[in-house]
Symmetry: C2
């Protein structure tokens, strides 16, 4: 046991639904035997925060509780702030791996860009910490994470057992179905699918207009190699993600056509 | 003049420093003769908001003023909210082009991911609106935008005169030097350069700890084809950006090495 302690990896866990969400508890339970798990999660829901960081306000850290025997803290900032603070002020080193989630709701397709869950994982990957974000296609607080937990353990074991690229970043989504209906794991590309937004217009008691963001999800991508396709066909989707946003094809085109 | 009005493009302008920032005024002045300019900008600074969207609160729009003869509104949300609301509630159609900035401070290298300026432009590109974000390497409110304005006009003219891909997205950064010292425009890739962060620890009057994000910019990328290199060598950098974050190389590797 003491030998295991010496060599066991440090696993940083965070999310965007806050430390109180059942999803992060499920994630901790899934991986707590694979290393020393340290949780640093937002103290309130931070969905849709994208890669926001807190510049104009100070941040707070607070000791918290999530699962017996697991160190846990809350942070007053965004998911990305959680990762930054965990490394600098709690771990005082980079963890071996960073896991984010399990998100209550899908983060496939274009959602990777808006998702606080995936932004936390991306922040880790930028900082040379291999990482993965996990999401279940069920927004409910009563969502059933049991199948996701089984596969998360397998995926994290695979990550820890191989030689991981230091910038490895996986976007993992689970269909909301029982384990026996899951057909397997598919490595996918990000679908071009997104919310078609409309704002709902209302009047406040002072007769002034305000707007609520609403929208319907639409898939514009016919490909059968996408995350949306995999999930619709009862597969777990894994999209490897990178943070070099350069469009090399367009770069080449512009170099030959644009002159100043 | 009336003929021009019929065919003139609709140019949506936004930023993340708020409608009161000199940078957005400079951008409007640079392009106001190229089409019908409509400004929808945050009513307060939104730097570092990344691709955050407002889900849990309603949003407000307010008529505002920026430059004589130009329609302008403020929005209570993030830069991405501004683009969404502009399309749905102000323009009632997609503009021909969306321009974001001029940001007070650099958005080269990894900053593209944290930047509200670039996230607004990316939101437009996702919505099939060709777009560009502009940033000057000077944080000051007294920054000199005169050289940037000259080049922005040329770049936007080039965008409007050619056949633009509907997802075209340019990240344009200007060195903070006078026009005569600018060596030209370079098409670049995004450098692997980032802030090395440390949190400053302080005590509040109740002896509780709080943290301020601080950091120093560091370039880990030796390439001479990067935006950081171009800017350090007195070039304007243009990085074409895309929002398919799939890492196709890693996808291929994992498909052959990982089995579940």
């Amino acid at each position: 046991m003491s030998e295991k302690n010496i060599t066991q990896p440090i696993i940083l866990v965070t999310n965007d639904d806050s430390i109180a969400a059942p999803g992060i508890k499920a994630l901790v339970e899934a991986v707590k035997d694979l290393g020393r798990v340290v949780v640093v999660a937002p103290d309130k829901p931070q969905s849709g925060m994208g890669h926001a960081i807190t510049i104009g306000h100070p941040l707070r850290l607070q000791k918290s509780f999530i699962v017996e025997g697991v160190e846990a803290y809350t942070c007053s900032g965004t998911p990305v702030d959680c990762v930054k603070l965990a490394v600098d002020k709690i771990l005082h080193r980079k963890p071996d791996i960073c896991l984010s989630g399990i998100n209550h709701g899908a983060n496939h397709s274009i959602n990777v860009i808006y998702s606080g869950t995936m932004s936390a994982a991306m922040e880790a990957a930028i900082e040379s910490i291999p990482s993965a974000g996990f999401s279940l296609l069920d927004y409910s607080m009563e969502a059933d994470f049991s199948a996701a937990k089984i596969y998360i353990k397998k995926i994290v074991e695979a990550m820890l057992s191989g030689k991981m690229d230091k910038h490895l970043l996986l976007n993992v989504n689970f269909p909301a179905i029982p384990e026996e209906l899951i057909k397997g794991v598919k490595f996918c590309r990000q679908a071009y699918a997104k919310y078609e937004e409309r704002f709902l217009e209302r009047k406040d008691p002072h007769d002034k207009t305000y707007y609520w963001l609403t929208g319907e999800f639409q898939n514009f991508d016919e490909g059968e190699d996408t995350d949306v396709w995999a999930l619709a066909n009862n597969y777990i989707s894994i999209v490897p993600v990178h943070f070099d946003l350069t469009d090399y094809k367009v770069k080449k085109e512009l170099e030959t056509t644009w002159k100043f």
